[in-house]
Amino acid sequence: MRKLFAICTVVLVIVALWYAAAVKMNAKWAYDQAARAKVELSFSELVKDTWSQERPVLPAPHQVVKELWGTTVMKKVTSKRSLIFHGWITLEATLLGFAVGTLLGILLSVGIIYIRAMDMSVMPWAIASQTVPILAIAPMIIVVLNSVGIQGLIPKAIISAYLSFFPVLVGMVKGLRSPDHMQLDLLKTYNASKSDAFFKLRLPSSVPYLFTSMKVGIAASLVGTIVGELPTGAIRGLGARLLTGSYYGQTIQMWAALFAAAILAASLVAIVGATEKTVLKRMGMIR
């Protein structure tokens, strides 16, 4: 109850600040229009105008909500203007990229644990890969793959995987190395094989680390997909909605797409979180 109250208070404060900012940032346009029409604007008229412009610098919250409502619930999902349609296009690539990225992260981490050469060499490259701006890499991947005839889902999923493998790699290396000396010695006293040590000790020990990484990874996946949709002039996906919005100064459309992306990301993280809770509970690792 107290938590709910705290959250509501913060949301209210943000919304209030947002409305105030909308008045200030859209005022110039309202004054310009008024000057052209040679009328004086009263304060209440100013507020009314700034909260209902067609192409505001900063749309008011209710305009964004209205656009969200209109392009999700009120539109057929097959419509080119439906955010659900665009969201699904983005989600598809995100999930594929996330699956590939997670698998890649796990495989690399296992290699790092067991192969000395990989232990010495992979991590610096993995870190370097994340320091390169994704905005620079994404167009190159799109263009190169397009030239060999691959387009649509796959290139976006690759960019998405490129961002999401890293947190999984880092988390899993730590997780697979989390058993202490005593636990490893105990297995030695049973003459346990390396595969016993992996499947009975290292892998179960790493599960909590895996889920923590996956929560970061899936959010990164979504960012990667959206970035992958930007440079191609793609016509489908949340990234495309952002791009067309910016071409035509449709700020309300851009904000609606941004919120759709945020809601999608939050839902994905929540799903991973819920899965984490269920799995750890079934394993007996949380009470």
Binding site: M182, D185, L187, K188, T189, K200, L201, V207, M283, G284
Partner: protein, 267 residues
Amino acid sequence: MMHHDFHVVSAKDLCLTFQTNDGPVHALKDVNLQIDKGDFVSFIGPSGCGKTTFLRAIAALEHPTSGELTVNGTTPEMARQDRAYGYVFQAAGLYPWRTIAKNIKLPLEIMGFTKAEQNKRVEKVLKLVDLEGFGNKFPWQLSGGMQQRASIARALSFDADILLMDEPFGALDEIVRDHLNEQLLKLWASTGKTIGFVTHSIPEAVYLSTKIVVMSPRPGRITDVIESTLPKERPLSIRDSKEFIDIAHRVREGLRAGHGDNGADNA
């Protein structure tokens, strides 16, 4: 090697040196010791005296630099492959994602026992450590003392003749420790196992052991081996007897002498 067959563990001029950045550390130097079948041997001494290292060497977790060490008349590695010993560490080290029964099954799974045999053995050892009915609990549902008992059950599950225990009750409070000591003696009497037991506590060593090995550090070595004259039946009240106090006194003297030598070494 025939002459070793009579001893469960036999160490002859055993040396074990660790190479560290600060130079070699002599964890064990010229250690000679025989442990016979059914012995309860305690190793006592200050940190760095090599008591744990010696136990680990028996378990083939450390490798002697020189000298001879046999377990059941063979090398420690071979003995391990023959499942000669169960090892109990200071922490219970139960897997939090396995129930108590599944934890006890861990070595049995690795050693390839059948499912039916696993279940039979779990029941048997849970009874031995007085944890019947707790098989389906997760470790966090048990107290520290119960967890350590479960880890002892795990070490007993595959019927090794030797039980090696490295300060198994060190992290527990005194009342729990007394209770577990009593239980351990019963378990030892009923199973006839040979037990190697590392401890910091003089009363614990005297109460439990048939043989007390007093060790001292730098270099790690044996300063005294005391054959206990206490009877095999030992109620907790035996700790107030004159015989008990006399043995405890001799252990304390041995520890003090070790420390004196140490001062002379440094000079």
